[in-house]
Amino acid sequence: MSAPLLDIQGLNIAMRLARGGRLPIVNDLSLTLQAGDTVGIVGESGSGKSLLSLAVMGLLPPAAVVSGRILFEGRDLLSLDDDGMSEIRGRRIGMIFQEPMTALNPAMTVGDQIAEGLVRHEKLSWNAARDRAVELLDRVRIPDPKARASAYPHQMSGGQRQRVGIAIAVAMRPALMIADEPTTALDVTVQAEVLEILDDLCQRESMALMLISHDLGVIARMCARTLVLYAGRRMEEGATRAVLTGPLNPYTKGLLRAVPRRRADDGPLETIPGSVPGFARLPAGCVFSDRCLDVVAACQAGEPAWTSPLPGRGVRCIRAGEEVSA
């Protein structure tokens, strides 16, 4: 097998605190992506999913302390200097953000914002780059792309702005696209269109996709594999269909039960008790043990190891074995 496109091994991210000391956030995170892979990162607020994407982009805040490895196309991103990282960022790794209005420059036409990267990285002339920008706007299905290239972000709808964001991110034909909640701010019908555009681009360019979302439905639509994060830990990983139809970790099970749906008996909706703890107040042992319905005394004794009870599946739960044999 060829070397993976992205190989994250034993990633730890901690934040340096102003009053001294460090607060660990991401713990022992490993993830491998081959070219063309689509993986969904599921997590609620405070799961560390956005820090993970920032780490891959080399955009962690200065207070972050990182250890582990992030190998991308064979190079360790964590040891690259700023110049080396900015060669990769935007060019080999594209990124789409949640809020297209704040991610775009309000004082520059969208055509120029798409062309900018082409001028910088591919050394195209501004004229040639602007022509490419129009092609790209057409690819993300903006009607009348030639005229729209000279529009400013505020003149576009949210869905159109997010398409511009995608056009900017794919302009350089990146090998990996990181999309952090790309459709959360959009209406469902617009969301469906944006997801389809993204899906087309992945397939046509065999671009790998790391999609970060709290919406399990969006992950089911887009990703072949899913990684579930909670409080900075991997809780479960596997093929999306397998994880969503046969979850092994109680947290994944709880999330799936909490998806709102009408109850036949009009009884209350199922919930996960409590709320996501802050990183400073994690329970002892398994980080989910204070909310887990299947908790036993041993859960609090120590943090469960990452195990692989089934081929292609990974899980962090001492009781996952019972689940598999049942």
Binding site: E44, A192, P260, R261, S275, R291
Partner: protein, 328 residues
């Protein structure tokens, strides 16, 4: 027949647009909207951004006035009341907003935030009475009395939304308008807040107008639902029936576009339209026409009125019967 709690009659709201140098234009945010909300129910309103659902909320809260039409609240026309009477009426309707971080004053303690709406009451409760009511409500929404003296930043998103709900309930309102009240919450706490809303309806008889773009959420808690498109109500009926069997093509489009944990991979592509899309003249015909799979020439010339298609079910579509005849 019982008087509905809210009786919205031919509500229209135009906003003047156009810049300093641009041609003045009118945007019709609400277009001849008629609907009723029964007391003690959860009434969902769904639709995409720009459909007028937030304008509707603002008008029901009497924060904005309609261009024409009126709202009968408990039988009284809201926009014909004197300012003093309107002020008195305000205790009967309260609102919960989307953003639990922006809607609570960060410099006030929870007890004070929750007690704030009491200033509209004619007879102001005593300090002790105020405090008792705040404590009772905090407990009713699943918080503890000990948390009353904390500040908003000490709470998680779900807890803040509970505080906002407690604040909305302090005047014992008949109606609470919840505009995307659970959209910003994590999945694991979203269901907790939805259960709270259902419980408040059942135990206190509070009526909720639940505005959201998330059909699954409405389907899970609402008794009735109204679907809005471009300022008009295009479908209404019992939530379960509407989502099981939409009578308006737009409702169907919304339901099919919604991602689900049971739909994996790329959805089957809709059959491409062969004919040239029909276009309605401005001001004529159905607003949904350019996106509609059932579009016919009649739709381009005649605005479909909201009409009863089945008992309790209304749709504003010339082809509602076609929808009804199709295999579900």
């Amino acid at each position: 027949m019982k008087t509905p709690l809210i009786d919205i009659r031919r509500l229209t709201r135009d906003y003047a647009g156009g810049g300093l140098f641009a041609k003045p234009s009118l945007t019709r945010a609400l277009d001849d909207l008629t609907m009723t909300v029964e007391a003690g129910t959860i009434h969902g309103i769904v639709g995409e951004s720009g459909c007028g659902k937030s304008t509707l909320a603002r008008i029901l809260m009497a924060l904005d006035k309609p261009t024409s039409g009126d709202v009968l609240f408990d039988g009284e026309p809201l926009f014909q009341l004197s300012p003093k009477d309107l002020m008195r009426k305000r205790r009967d309707f309260q609102m919960v907003f989307q953003d639990p971080f922006g809607s609570l004053d960060p410099r006030q303690r929870v007890a004070r935030i929750v007690a704030e709406p009491l200033h509209v009451l004619e007879v102001k409760p005593s300090r002790q009475e105020k405090r008792d009511r705040v404590m009772a409500l905090l407990e009713a929404v699943g918080l503890t009395a000990a948390q009353a003296d904390r500040f908003p930043h000490e709470f998680s998103g779900g807890q803040r939304q509970r505080i906002a709900i407690a604040r909305a309930l302090i005047t014992e309102p008949k109606l609470v308008v919840a505009d995307e009240a659970v959209s910003a919450l994590d999945l694991s706490v979203q269901a907790q807040v939805l259960n709270l809303i259902t419980r408040l309806k059942r135990e206190r008889g509070v009526t909720f107008l639940f505005i959201t773009h998330n059909l699954a959420v409405v389907d899970a808690v609402a008794d009735q639902v109204g679907v809005m498109y471009r300022g008009r109500l295009v479908e209404s009926g019992p939530a379960r029936a509407v989502f099981e069997r939409p009578l308006h093509p737009y409702t169907q489009v919304l339901a099919e576009a919604e991602p689900s944990v049971t739909k994996f991979g790329r959805p089957p592509r809709a059959e491409p339209k062969t004919s040239q899309p029909l276009k309605a003249e401005p001001g004529q015909g159905c607003a949904f026409l350019p996106r509609c799979r059932l579009a016919s020439p009649r739709c381009a010339s005649e605005v479909p009125a909201l009409r009863s298609v089945l008992p309790g079910r209304q749709a504003a579509c010339h082809h509602a019967e076609t929808m009804l005849a199709e295999e579900p």
